[in-house]
């Protein structure tokens, strides 16, 4: 039994609402800029997709991720016409880094930070009176992964309403280690391009209100498959990705040919894009659906990225527009058989969208989203 997407909220470098974000994606507007938070004399990397909300004067401040999370959930509740008073409504938060950026600031600069606020439970209680809250740190697959748990609760009747959200900020430890690990600092995030150089980080939050099929104004969530490669702590595995796609379609009762559009994970890293393209070819064969990847414009919004794609997918179904992979110049060989979107599409008839979200630790989540009836 599917769930209904009754409300949504999103923000990132590209816009502060879901509507603004989708308009930016369709217009090909990127949120990339020079990183503002860190001392750039310590790094080679000169690009990041930050939310520009720090106070003037330079430097960084704690608790930004928590603020975005509350904004996204508040927007989703308002959109679903629900009061911002959640009580024991389950709230599932997917994140890679929770408030670890605030911990870094406390460690290096001795800013005030209570480690009880590494997770989001206190803030969710204060703002929404929510007590059945879970901070799940499932790396870059996190928000789509917990969306699967939320759907379980709707399907089993354990809950009538579930709030599912994702959030991440850029931490200095991840920014520095990515710089350390790439041969050269990426100039752009180029999913599925022959000359892709790696991932660039983005900030953002996203939230959806999940209810029964009677409340599906943004579409029906047909299924979410989750698994783990159990292969490598950071490299992906074609077998795990393909198994997640097949399980997602099977749970949704869909055939590969039923899928109209895929939101690829598409991080612009050598290994992700290769494994994902091979898994796509394995499942879809010679007749793949349209496929796009939005991290070229939002950056890799990590724990929020799966829901960012899903929310954009609700807009594609509604408007028939599909954003393009703006930084794609020459597709890599493994992607030659895919129908990657090169220019913004309009007027497409899209009923079933498949969303990919993968993360460190071999975490894979695949969601199937259908037009509401």
């Amino acid at each position: 039994m599917p769930g209904g997407i009754a409300g949504r909220g999103a923000l990132a470098s590209t816009g502060r609402t879901a509507e603004d974000m989708f308009a930016a994606l369709c217009a090909g507007r990127s949120g990339v800029d020079t990183p503002r938070a860190f001392d750039l004399t310590r790094y080679r990397t000169r690009h990041a997709f930050e939310i520009d909300d720090r106070p003037p004067g330079g430097g960084d401040v704690p608790m930004r991720a928590t603020g975005w999370l509350l904004d996204a959930i508040g927007a989703a509740l308002a959109d679903a016409e629900l009061a911002p008073d959640l009580g024991d409504v389950p709230v599932l938060i997917g994140t890679t880094l929770r408030e670890l950026r605030s911990a870094e600031l406390a460690w290096r600069q001795h800013t005030d930070f209570d480690t009880d606020r590494l997770h989001f439970g206190h803030a969710l209680r204060e703002r929404f009176g929510a007590t059945t809250t879970y901070t799940v740190t499932n790396a870059c697959a996190a928000s789509l992964y917990v969306l699967g748990l939320g759907l379980d609760l709707i399907e089993s009747g354990a809950a009538e309403t579930v709030v599912v959200a994702g959030v991440d900020t850029i931490s200095e430890s991840t920014f520095g280690l990515l710089d350390r690990c790439y041969p050269a600092p990426p100039e752009a995030l180029r999913p599925f391009d022959r000359h892709r150089q790696g991932m660039l980080q983005g900030e953002g939050a996203a939230a959806v209100v999940l209810r029964g099929t009677g409340d599906a104004r943004h579409g029906l969530l047909r299924a979410v498959a989750v698994n783990c490669d159990a292969y490598h702590p950071s490299a992906p595995d074609v077998a795990g990705i393909a198994a997640a796609i097949r399980e997602g379609q099977s749970r949704a009762g869909a055939k590969p040919s039923d899928v109209d559009l895929v939101f690829l994970h598409g991080t612009g890293t050598e290994l992700n894009d290769q494994a994902e393209a091979l898994a796509m070819a394995e499942v879809f064969g010679d007749t793949p659906p349209l496929a796009t990847a939005i991290k070229c414009m939002t950056g890799h919004t990590a724990g929020a990225s799966g829901l960012h794609s899903l929310i954009a997918g609700t807009d594609c179904i509604r408007t028939g527009a599909v954003p393009a992979i703006t930084t794609l110049q020459r597709p890599m060989d493994e992607a030659a058989g895919l129908r990657l979107v090169r220019d913004t599409v309009s007027g497409a008839d899209i009923d079933l969208v498949q969303v990919h979200s993968f993360g460190f630790g071999g975490l894979n989540a695949v969601a199937l989203l259908e037009r509401g009836r």
């Binding site: 990397t45 480690t115 499932n138 989750v226 071999g362």
Partner: protein
């Protein structure tokens, strides 16, 4: 996909520890062992520990012991690979980890190294540990577990929340069994940011579908009852309505009054430092040990306090001995 069948029953079939001075879970029921000077990681092979942070090492060791206790001794070299592996038992086994401070050492050490030596000072082997799911990730790789994989970093209630979500995964039919690990490492980053004293150790349990456990002839060590996370301890306990219990496991720093009549109260690992995300799993391991001695008894595990509006919450979980039919 899912027929009108009853949800699978979740049971516990094994438990293990990695805590200095503790020979096994039965020690959780007694006083703190006199000799705690040993290294809790002494039982971990050098190969398993390589390139891993302390939290991961502790959890791998406790997890391996829990699997052995459940009669599923794990060959630590997963050989079951390839596309079909997702249809085999490893594909039906999940992992749920709980830790609040697990990767603070990597995060703080990395920003120190960058400050001193630029990005070139950061160790690339640490990249996976910057993400807080590194423990669950290594457990899955090490023991070949391809099912759902979750990491709870959920504050004081995190360990009981992890046990709850493991049971959820079994009841929802997403997996047949789950290795649950609660771990907190003791190091300078943890004491620097959260204050002393930090706990250093891990507990693990195996949650399994009752049908699958029966199918392989595995003894049930505990049955898992109702769970709730609510505004405060009283609300959480009221929501699970346990009635009188034989064992009550108190939240961190204790609680003045038992929330229900309890014959015996236990602060699991009270003198071992702040157990935080490990506590709930330590409590469940202690309950398993208790049921080994006290058949036909029931236990109530509680974590967190909640209370005033700015506090987070409290969680309660009911457990019963396999013989208990009340």
């Amino acid at each position: 996909m899912t027929g009108p069948t009853r949800p699978a029953e979740a049971v516990i079939t094994g438990a293990g520890l990695a805590v200095a001075g503790y020979a096994g879970i039965a020690d959780l029921l007694g006083p703190v062992p006199a000799d705690r000077d040993g290294d809790p990681l002494a039982g971990l092979s050098r190969r398993l520990g390589r390139h891993k942070d302390r939290a991961t090492r502790l959890a791998l060791l406790a997890g391996g012991r829990a699997l052995a206790d459940a009669g599923r001794p794990a060959d630590d070299t997963p050989v079951d690979t390839g596309p079909e592996a997702f249809d085999r038992p490893g594909g039906r086994t999940g992992v749920v980890a709980s830790s609040n401070y697990g990767n603070l050492d990597t995060v703080c050490g990395t920003v120190d190294a960058i400050d001193a030596h630029t990005y070139t000072g950061a160790s690339p082997m640490l990249l996976p540990s910057t993400a807080s799911n590194v423990v669950a990730s290594w457990i899955a790789i090490t023991y070949g577990m391809r099912g759902a994989n979750l990491t709870l970093c959920n504050g004081a209630t995190s360990g009981l929340d992890a046990v709850h979500w493991a049971c959820h995964l079994v009841r929802a039919g997403r997996v047949d069994s789950v290795l649950v690990a609660g771990v907190e490492p003791g190091n300078d980053a943890v004491t620097g940011l959260a204050g002393a004293p930090a706990f250093d150790g891990a507990a693990a349990i195996v949650v399994e579908s009752a049908r699958v456990a029966a199918g392989r002839g595995a003894p049930v060590r505990a049955r898992v009852g109702r769970y709730a996370r609510r505004a405060d301890l009283r609300d959480a306990v009221a929501a699970v309505a346990p009635g009188p219990v034989d064992l009550w496991c108190e939240p961190e720093d204790g609680a003045a009054e038992p929330p229900v009549p309890a014959r015996h109260r236990l602060e699991v690992g009270a003198q071992l430092g702040r157990r935080s995300g490990a506590l709930g799993v330590l409590q469940v391991a202690a309950a398993v040990a208790w049921f080994g001695r006290h058949p036909r008894s029931r236990a109530l595990a509680t974590c967190g306090r909640g209370g005033e509006a700015s506090a987070d919450a409290a969680a309660a979980l009911v457990l019963a001995a396999p013989e208990d039919r009340s």
